[in-house]
Symmetry: C2
Subunit: 374 residues, 2 copies
């Protein structure tokens, strides 16, 4: 399948960098981390009470108290000296002068967190490939690990093409023109998905200029070209890929998103998205996101919910279909506007449903997985 | 319920700020946006072909072509001049000298995207309260909307307390001490949940100093105090809240997380978290996240998956229990380590399952919703 052909050419990044642990949330660890210390670092009282020797408490009961001469007041979190091995809770004892009257028998380590009980020095705390979350950063800090090695964030070069496109914030549009918006959308998503994205100027429909733009971005880990992929006389991009390197795929059975192409130039994967924004968005989720995950060693989930379909969905047989839906009253309501240019349908949508190739649509009431737009 | 008592005192923020649209992703719109223009801004060819007058194509069929004198070559995206009202695809016609032979009847607007078909000038494109996603930013840009008004991000002040706590990266620990890690965890989560977080120095267990720390952070939209909430002689925090303002709740039926308190000081909500990291984490998800959502006008979902339980979970009746789980072979495996101090259990967990108060545990094989740690 097309996606696998792309992913086969996306190599997990090997470049690493050193970071303060406090900045590691969301980053991917590039080597195993053994704990430098025990956690807790000492036998620790788990309760307020008194440290005692468990052997001396034998037989203690409410109606048969035992009296101890050796004991030490404790607060939860304090170290329990080596001569003691248990903590009796305040409820189960009473100080009588220099003596402690206790009414419960203690076993060894009762109410004591033993040294290394949580983590033993030398034990692997996190393994290579782990994506740090906030509690992981807390654990690193608890262990006194101030810095970590992580994989660098993948670099993505986004190259928008098309002669009728005007940069956002540029001059007012003339008839036949549109603002170049897919490049911005691709960059924001790439950053959200863990990459560092940069966008070139809009490249006109000119084979030489497209070639030049690709050449000058072969230091990126993934190149995303937008527009110029349909099958027609002005669609230079796949032809340029073929000449500069390898064209892996041109045209996929995806609706919207048929005019998609994948290639490799200078060893770097290139994804060519259609210029229609709704199709470009499908491609970003179906191809660019998994490519970036693979390059960046990540496996985060797209947030999703299950919901019954409010109405049936028709789809083209043998095509994977991406259908935008609105979540309303616990149901997924398909937005059945055809036309990959209808951007307002995306703004109204909460997410999308993927109809598999082997289905010719989905029935009303059928439970579907809705992937939510992030 | 405790959470509702807290949320009742969390007012949605009214402060707004002006932002370039390209920076609006993830931010919440503070006013309705009407479209300044039509989209498309002109009648636009949806296909490559020829612009024609549909009335002149009547009866055209493959075996009964019609010949037109008035037509204009078109590429998809080009404006269709007012004298024409349809575009015939290249496949359905042939140029013969100055005449176009067409073999398909066109109806009005065939293959034409009419002006304003996607969005009409004046139509509300996004409503107050909408959280912008990347395609929304693309749509704003397509409409030439360069700046938007959004709600400010809530300000959160995090105040860690406890005399045995040493700042992260500070000196080596002495027996009985630990690094203060909950404050860092709370800050990273607050930022992830859309807030701007700042953390004070560790405040010792001293009523006067805690009072001072709260006073000097009443400009925050939410105050999070960590530690000093258990019921005992040194647990100053709830007492301080009572004296400075209002103590709403002290102690909740949550496991772990019982020693939680909520209050209001100077009109600002205050959440007091237990000092044990696992309990603090439960509280962050169960109380701080919804509080920040309410203050910040947000409603994003926690990413979650459904999975059958690999083993039964026991839980304390009449308590809401938060149980960490690992996802393994499509099942949710509970991590049954008791002790809210066991931070390594969180590092091993993929997420958590909430056992409702009315259940005394969950059965093996039962399908549960796992909320994934972000």
């Amino acid at each position: 399948m097309a996606k696998e052909m792309l992913l086969d050419r996306c190599a997990p990044l090997q470049r690493m960098q050193h970071l303060p642990s406090a900045q590691a949330s969301g980053r991917v660890l590039s080597q195993d981390i053994p704990s430098p210390v025990n956690l807790p670092g000492f036998d620790r009282a788990a309760m307020d009470g008194f440290a005692v020797r468990s052997g001396e408490t034998k037989g203690a009961k409410p109606n048969a108290p035992v009296y101890l001469d050796h004991f030490l007041p404790m607060r939860a979190g304090m170290p329990v000296p080596a001569e003691f091995d248990a903590v009796v809770m305040s409820e189960d004892c009473m100080v009588r002068g220099a003596t402690l009257e206790i009414t419960a028998q203690m076993h060894a380590n009762k109410n004591v967190s033993r040294i290394g009980e949580d983590i033993t020095a030398g034990e692997t705390v996190f393994s290579e490939g782990h994506t740090f979350r906030p509690p992981d950063v807390a654990l690193l800090s608890a262990l006194g690990i101030g810095e970590v090695w992580v994989y660098e964030r993948p670099r993505v070069a986004v190259i928008p093409t098309g002669s009728g496109l005007v940069p956002i914030g540029g001059r007012a549009l003339r008839a036949g023109e549109a603002y170049e918006i897919n490049g911005l959308m691709a960059c924001i998503y790439a950053e959200k998905w863990g990459a560092i994205a940069s966008k070139t100027e809009v490249v006109p429909d000119d084979e030489g200029l497209i070639r030049e733009a690709i050449s000058s971005h072969c230091n990126a880990d993934l190149i995303v070209i937008i527009g110029g992929t349909a099958i027609g006389e002005k669609d230079y991009v796949p032809r340029v890929l073929e000449e500069m390197g390898e064209l892996l795929v041109h045209g996929v059975r995806l609706q919207p998103g048929k005019p998609t192409a994948f290639g490799v130039v200078g060893g770097k994967p290139v994804v060519c998205l259609p210029g229609y924004p709704v199709a470009a968005l499908s491609d970003l989720y179906l191809f660019v996101r998994p490519a970036l995950q693979r390059i960046g060693h990540r496996s985060d989930w797209v947030p999703r919910v299950s919901a019954p379909l409010a109405r049936k969905i028709a789809s083209r047989p043998n095509y994977l279909s991406v259908v935008r839906v609105v979540l309303k009253d616990g149901q997924a309501e398909p937005i059945m506007i055809s036309g990959a240019g209808i951007l307002s349908s995306v703004a109204r949508a909460d997410g999308f449903v993927v109809v598999p190739e082997e289905r010719e649509g989905l029935e009303a009431g059928e439970t579907v997985e809705v992937e939510l737009f992030e």
